[in-house]
C-alpha cells in the first residue's frame, strides 16, 4: 500500500508535494485519483504525513463531495436547488431512483451508476436540472428524466427497450418487496 501513497505524494500535482498542504486539498487529490477515498490509502497518508486519522475521517465525512465508498462509473445527479424544487425536482429524483433501482447517494450493485442530489448547480434558469456524466439536461419532468436515463441505460448495458422495461420493473419490484419485508420486520 505504501506505494500508492508514495506515488500520490510524488504526484505531478503541486499540492501533494508541499509540506503545509491543506487536508481538504490532499483528500481532493486522493479522490480525483481513486474516484473515492479508500481507507487504506488514507491510513497510509496519515502515517506518512503525520496527520491525525480522526481529523482526516472527520473532514472526509463532513464535506459532501467526498465519498468513502467507490462511486459509479456514470454519475447521475439531480439538482435540488430552490428553483428546481419549485418546478418539481423531487418527483424527478424519485423517478430516477426508481428507474435506476438505487436511492440518492447510492451506487448500483454493478458499480455502473450512482445517483446523487446536488444542492444547486447554478443553472437555475433550466430548472429542474439533471446532470448525467457532466452533461446538463434542463427543463426536466419525471417522465422525460426517466426516458433520458433509459436511453442511457440502453446504450451502456446494450439492452433492448423491452429488456430494459423488464429490468426496471424487476428492480422496482425488488425495491418494493424489500421495503415490505423491512416494514414487516419493524412491526415485529
Amino acid at each position: 500500500m505504501a506505494k500508492v501513497a508514495e506515488e500520490l505524494k510524488n504526484g505531478q500535482k503541486e499540492t501533494a508535494g508541499q509540506n503545509n498542504v491543506s487536508l481538504v486539498a490532499l483528500l481532493q487529490e486522493v479522490q480525483e485519483r481513486y474516484n473515492y477515498l479508500p481507507e487504506d490509502v488514507l491510513r497510509e497518508l496519515a502515517r506518512e504525513k503525520n496527520l491525525s486519522l480522526m481529523e482526516m475521517y472527520s473532514v472526509a465525512t463532513f464535506y459532501k463531495s467526498f465519498s468513502l465508498q467507490p462511486r459509479g462509473k456514470h454519475k447521475v445527479a439531480t439538482c435540488s436547488g430552490t428553483a428546481c424544487h419549485v418546478r418539481g425536482s423531487e418527483k424527478v429524483t424519485e423517478e430516477l431512483s426508481r428507474v435506476l433501482g438505487i436511492k440518492p447517494g447510492e451506487t448500483s450493485q454493478d458499480g455502473a451508476y450512482s445517483l446523487e442530489t446536488v444542492n444547486c448547480l447554478g443553472a437555475c434558469a433550466l430548472a429542474p436540472l439533471v446532470v448525467v456524466d457532466g452533461e446538463y439536461h434542463g427543463n426536466m419532468t419525471a417522465a422525460r428524466a426517466a426516458a433520458l436515463i433509459k436511453e442511457h441505460l440502453k446504450k451502456s448495458r446494450g439492452l433492448s427497450a423491452a429488456e430494459l422495461e423488464q429490468d426496471v420493473e424487476k428492480k422496482a419490484w425488488e425495491g418494493c418487496s424489500c421495503a415490505i419485508l423491512l416494514a414487516g420486520n419493524d412491526k415485529k
Binding site: 491525525s52 486519522l53 475521517y57 472527520s58 465525512t61 463532513f62
Partner: protein, 224 residues
C-alpha cells in the same frame, strides 16, 4: 483589569476572563453542559447564553466563549435569557431524558413538561469527551463525524482506534452517560424528583455511547 456591568453590578475582572468565569467568580449561577474548566470552551450546548449590550440593541451570546470587555452590559437572568434557556432545556429533555445532569437542570430551572416528541438519545454532542481526548490525553481517538442532523461521535473509520489509551476520561466527563438518571419510565421524560446517582449500568443501557472496548467502567466488553 476590565470593568463592566454584570446584572447592574459594577465588576472588574482580569483581561481575558470570559463572562462565564466572571459570573461564577461573582457567585452568579449560569448552567452549562459543554463547559469544563480544564478544557477549551466550545459553545455548543447554548445553555450559558447571556444577554449583552444596551437594552433594545442587545443580543444573546455564549458566556463561556465571550471575553469580558470594557463597559459591556451583561444580563444573565433577563426574561429573554430565562425563556430561551427554558426552551433549550425542554429540548434537551425531549432528546436525552436519561441523563441525570439534564434532569437536574430541568428541576433547577422549573421545566415541568415536554411539548416535543420524545426521543431517547444517548449523546447530546457536547464534545466534552472529544476535547478531553485531544487536549488532556493528546490522543485524538474520537471525534465528530458527518454534519448537521447526522453528526455524531465516532472513532476513525468507526473501528477501534489505535490511539485510544483506555483512560476512561471520555466516560468520566460525559454528562449524558455517566450520570444516568434512573427515574422516569420510558414514556414520561420528567421525574423532577431525582435523588439517586448509581454508577452507570450498561446492562440497562446496552446502547450507551461508549468508546472503550473493553469498557473501563464496567470492566466487561459488552459493546460489540
Amino acid at each position: 483589569m476590565v470593568n463592566f456591568k454584570l446584572n447592574g453590578l459594577e465588576v472588574a475582572v482580569e483581561k481575558g476572563t470570559t463572562l462565564l468565569e466572571a459570573a461564577r467568580f461573582y457567585g452568579i449561577e449560569i448552567p452549562t453542559l459543554c463547559y469544563d474548566a480544564g478544557l477549551s470552551p466550545y459553545g455548543a450546548c447554548r445553555l450559558c447564553l447571556v444577554e449583552v449590550g444596551e437594552p433594545g440593541k442587545s443580543r444573546l451570546v455564549t458566556s463561556c466563549t465571550y471575553p469580558a470587555r470594557e463597559g459591556l452590559q451583561v444580563r444573565t437572568h433577563s426574561q429573554w435569557v430565562v425563556n430561551t434557556r427554558k426552551l433549550i432545556i425542554e429540548l434537551y429533555l425531549a432528546t436525552c431524558p436519561s441523563s441525570k445532569t439534564i434532569q437536574d437542570l430541568a428541576s433547577r430551572y422549573h421545566v415541568t413538561g415536554v411539548r416535543f416528541r420524545q426521543k431517547h438519545e444517548d449523546c447530546i454532542l457536547c464534545g466534552l469527551c472529544i476535547r478531553y481526548c485531544s487536549e488532556q490525553m493528546q490522543a485524538k481517538a474520537i471525534g465528530f463525524i458527518n454534519r448537521g442532523e447526522k453528526r455524531r461521535i465516532s472513532t476513525p473509520f468507526e473501528r477501534k482506534a489505535e490511539e485510544c489509551r483506555f483512560c476512561g476520561g471520555c466516560m468520566y466527563i460525559c454528562p449524558a452517560c455517566q450520570a444516568r438518571c434512573q427515574g422516569p419510565e420510558e414514556k414520561e421524560a420528567v421525574c423532577n424528583a431525582c435523588l439517586n446517582l448509581s454508577p452507570p449500568c450498561l446492562d440497562r443501557f446496552n446502547d450507551a455511547m461508549c468508546y472503550l472496548d473493553p469498557c473501563v467502567a464496567c470492566e466487561q466488553g459488552r459493546k460489540e
